[in-house]
């Protein structure tokens, strides 16, 4: 039957509601938003370098300026986001860098685990060398 059908495809508009369509998209946006806090903290690091380069009084003023509830709150939130970035990054590493030994691939958990282990060792080493404990 050669009757021509009239086609009129309907294109659905893409709005930002996709973010709330499923928890995985909320988790993704949370991970992405970590960049704001990591970026902000790094800019604070640049300010710290500026004060350090200006001498002991400027540096003392900088350290004193850190001791405010707002700055503490920022640090706590930034730390949470930074840790979330680390956890998501190391969990995704085996997907991006699969390792084949012989016929099989090294299990994802081993690759992630090695990263988490190195992260822990490095962090403790830095805390120790910095004299935090």
């Amino acid at each position: 039957m050669a009757e021509e059908m009239s086609r009129k495809p309907y294109v659905r508009e893409m709005t930002s509601e996709w973010i709330f369509r499923h928890p995985r998209y909320v988790r993704y946006m949370t991970r992405e938003f970590s960049c704001l806090f990591i970026g902000a903290w790094t800019l604070m690091l640049v300010c710290a370098l500026a004060r350090l380069s200006e001498g002991p009084e400027a540096w003392a003023a900088f350290l004193a300026g850190l001791k405010s509830p707002l700055i503490v709150a920022f640090h706590v939130v930034a730390l949470a986001f930074a840790v979330y970035h680390s956890v998501t990054w190391f969990n995704l590493t085996p997907k991006a860098l699969p390792l084949q030994l012989g016929e099989q691939f090294v299990p994802d958990g081993v690759i992630s685990g090695a990263h988490f282990g190195a992260w822990a060792v490095l962090s403790i080493a830095i805390l120790y060398l910095a004299g935090a404990f």
């Binding site: 086609r7 309907y10 659905r12 369509r21 995985r24 997907k95 991006a96 691939f105």
Partner: protein, 247 residues
């Protein structure tokens, strides 16, 4: 096993009469062990023969019956009604134009599949008399999971980047290109790079990972795409910083 009364809200669209889609509610008496596809078939057979949708194997191997079930891309033949409480919303696969009811326009996907040259392009063509291309189990395992794609397009529906950027080549097509790139018998990577290492290729991906989560065959297209990015990046820096190195 007993019966259950299921409320289905299905997005309808008739291109010949409608200016936009609208929801239609059906009350279906189902068996408890049914999948959503069974409910749709029951509607079509006994309530509303105009309901239009794609399906074939009813066993999650053909990839035909992909649709949004409560906003999640699923194969209708794999969506058990016992997993759902209350009204079940059925819509066509997201990020594709609607042809009619639950049928989407898949031309874009078919075109992208072709563009990535999803076939072996041997490094050295062997004459038949020279025998088969030999491959070890290890070499097979390098690409096997990426060969399991059933082209169901759930990954495209799950991918927000494809929804935002229709030109994006997309998860399944890039994973398929990766399948051939990883095949020891193949020598066509340079040709496929023109498609998958282009801006609309792997670079539109932001590693949301939704594609791999919804994939019914555990292909892990997200992993494939990241591997493409890393290889392409190594290639780019090698070419630009050490041009004297021959490939």
């Amino acid at each position: 096993m007993g019966e259950r009364t299921l409320e289905l809200e299905v997005l309808r669209y008739n291109p010949e009469t409608d200016s936009e889609p609208r929801f239609q509610r059906y009350t279906v008496t189902c068996r408890e062990e049914w999948v959503v596809l069974d409910a749709l078939n029951h509607i079509k057979e006994t309530i509303d023969p105009t309901l239009t949708y794609r399906w074939s194997c009813h066993m999650a191997v053909c990839g035909s019956c992909g649709m949004m079930i409560n906003k999640e891309p699923k194969l209708a033949c794999k969506a058990f009604i016992r997993s759902y409480k209350g009204v079940v919303r059925v819509e066509p696969l997201a990020h594709f134009p609607i042809e009619r009811d639950l049928v989407t326009v898949i031309d874009d996907f078919m075109d992208k599949l072709k563009r990535v040259r999803p076939y072996l392009i041997p490094k050295q063509v062997k004459a038949v008399a020279d025998g088969e291309y030999l491959q070890t189990p290890a070499e097979l395992n390098k690409f096997k999971q990426y060969s399991m794609c059933i082209n169901c397009m759930l990954c495209y529906a799950a991918c927000p980047e494809y929804g935002l950027i229709p030109k994006y080549v997309g998860p399944a097509a890039i994973a398929l290109a990766h399948r051939y790139n990883q095949d020891s018998r193949d020598g066509g990577r340079d040709q496929r790079q023109q498609e998958i290492a282009a801006t609309e290729g792997a670079w539109e991906c932001s590693f949301v990972g939704a594609c791999s989560e919804v994939c019914p065959e555990h292909v892990d297209p997200a992993g494939a795409i990241q591997q493409v990015k890393i290889k392409s990046t190594v290639d780019w820096y090698t070419e630009h910083l050490m041009p004297w190195l021959k490939k």
